[in-house]
Amino acid sequence: MRARLLGIAAASVAALVLAGCGEKANVTVYKQGQYQGKPDNVPWQSEPFNNDKANWEKTIKARNNNQNEYLRTQQ
């Protein structure tokens, strides 16, 4: 009777200890999200430029360089 009880106790402990082996890792894998909103168009698509990308880039570059007073004062 005593041996049987010991056997049951040993089996219970073994089952409890081995239960830990089945645990999965709790580390989250980071996944880069994808934009879910409405699509936006490019700046040169609308009215003043009408899909003329080269013209838009030229205008922006001129504006960019206009911030350089070393260039402006030499003109």
């Binding site: 490019v42 570059k61 504006r63 960019n64 911030q67």
Partner: protein
């Protein structure tokens, strides 16, 4: 393709808040929201430095990474924008941003946090260009008009530069070399390090110091 960036020259900024005013006026920003603000270090002490700060349109933007509804996107010009129809006003982007750029207007009688609002580099948002909806939600789309952000173009001392990163970096570099202070200029040495100085001579053993 241009990669749009802001650069503030702390040697030139005079804390006039003209950029803040230009931004608020151009985009009709509501009360309590500041897309741009001027930060002063060592305020009131000799040698104080001011810088105009807004969204820096990061290349690897933390706000985009933490947004639970993925409402952020980056345009082909490198401008970080978001869709207000998707934003849930959770505030994660505010905690993630190192510049405190995301702003939240008070919404409703109990001061609830509204949808996030931030600097758009005057590039509007995901609505039809120059439409009333775009202006109401995101402000004016100056980039589609072939103009740069109002804050940078209005800056009286040209401390705040905005535009193609390569071009404004060249402008700043020219200034630094023209000032003749080289790497002593605040920002330059911090970013690129100072020229290596010659190591002091090692004392000879037995020599008197």
């Amino acid at each position: 393709m241009a990669r749009m960036k802001f650069l503030c020259d702390a040697e030139r900024c005079i804390e006039c808040n003209g950029c803040v005013t230009a931004c608020k006026n151009e985009n009709e920003i509501p009360w309590g929201v500041n897309r741009r603000r001027v930060v002063t270090l060592n305020d009131g002490l000799p040698g104080e430095k001011s810088m105009s700060v807004a969204c820096m349109h990061c290349s690897d933007a933390p706000c985009m990474a933490v947004c639970p509804v993925d409402c952020f996107y980056k345009t082909s010009e490198g401008v970080v924008l978001h869709d207000k129809d998707l934003c849930i006003g959770c505030g994660y982007c505010f905690y993630a941003c190192p510049f405190g750029a995301p702003q939240f207007p008070q919404d409703g009688a109990f001061g609830l946090r509204g949808k996030m609002d931030k600097c758009t580099f005057c590039a509007g948002g995901p609505e039809q260009d120059h439409s009333a909806a775009e202006f109401r939600k995101y402000g004016r789309n100056r980039l589609a008009e072939g103009k740069l952000p109002a804050c940078a173009e209005m800056c009286s001392t040209k401390a705040l530069l905005g535009g193609d990163g390569d071009v404004i970096a060249d402008i700043y570099r020219t200034r630094v070399t023209t000032r003749g202070k080289g790497s002593d200029v605040w920002g330059w040495g911090t970013a690129y390090g100072k020229p290596e100085t010659q190591a002091p001579a090692q004392p000879q053993p037995g020599a008197k110091s």
